[in-house]
């Protein structure tokens, strides 16, 4: 087993213990930790959405959001997805975040793009993993806090999320 350089076994066990304590503390001190926690956690999609968006209402964004993803993904390990939002990108009003959420993944929040007016256009693309057939959502947060979402079902022939 590979050990970190310059660390005895005993010291390493101690560190691991400390990390465990810190993790436990993080759970009880939830509000502050929420920002510092990793975006991706093993949780159902409802819990993830609640944690990230605090249960705020989402409007239907199908008029301005274009979610481009194959209807059938033969290989769930690599699924190209792109999101384009037809919205102005000016310092007064712009698209702040684009989230990609895969409902059936064990880690539902796939990625969050943080955009600025300098991006010129609200667009992002990525290759994602899909564990099984299910909805994929794109959630757009505008600079005034408005949330818009679109979703599309993707059929997955071979899942890509072993975990």
């Amino acid at each position: 087993m590979a050990q970190p350089r310059g660390m005895t076994r005993r010291a390493m066990l101690g560190t691991l213990g400390a990390v465990g304590v810190a993790a436990a503390a993080g759970v009880t001190l939830a509000p502050r930790a929420a920002g510092a926690q990793a975006l991706g956690q093993n949780e159902p999609v409802d819990a993830a959405l609640k944690r990230v968006f605090g249960g705020k209402a989402m409007k239907d964004g199908s008029r301005i959001i274009k979610l481009d993803i194959p209807l059938i993904a033969e290989n769930g390990a690599v699924v190209p997805v792109s999101v384009e939002v037809n919205a102005p990108m000016t310092p007064q009003s712009y698209v702040k975040h684009i989230y990609v959420v895969a409902d059936k993944n064990r880690i539902p929040i796939v990625t969050r793009a943080v955009l600025t007016p300098d991006s010129g256009q609200a667009y992002m693309g990525a290759n994602i993993r899909l564990g099984e057939t299910g909805d994929v959502r794109a959630i757009v947060e505008q600079s005034d806090g408005t949330l818009l979402q679109v979703k599309r079902e993707v059929k997955v022939t071979v899942g890509g999320c072993g975990g």
Partner: protein
Amino acid sequence: MSDIGKVRLRLPSSIKAGDVVRVRCLVIHPMERIERDKAGKIIDKKYQYIDKVTVTYLGKTIASFDTTQSVSENPFFAFTFKATDPGKLAVTFHDTLGETYEGTADIKFG
């Protein structure tokens, strides 16, 4: 896995001032998945995956991605930026082991 961290950036061949340019970038990286033991319990270890991607243009961060293990192996990202001045565009990938990988492109107008 000696290829880890190779970054490739693709831009259109000619860019005019003021264009909104689409950039595609790719990094060779394993993006380790969560492993489970036979009982289905998550094996607790530090997984190596990219959790942050930042894009800087002319020294200013213009976009970033926060990513999770649901992103595929050898992750690919696409984004746009507004080419206002010639200069450097850099894409930096940060993984959970503290490694960073950077790819740069010189923006020229021609």
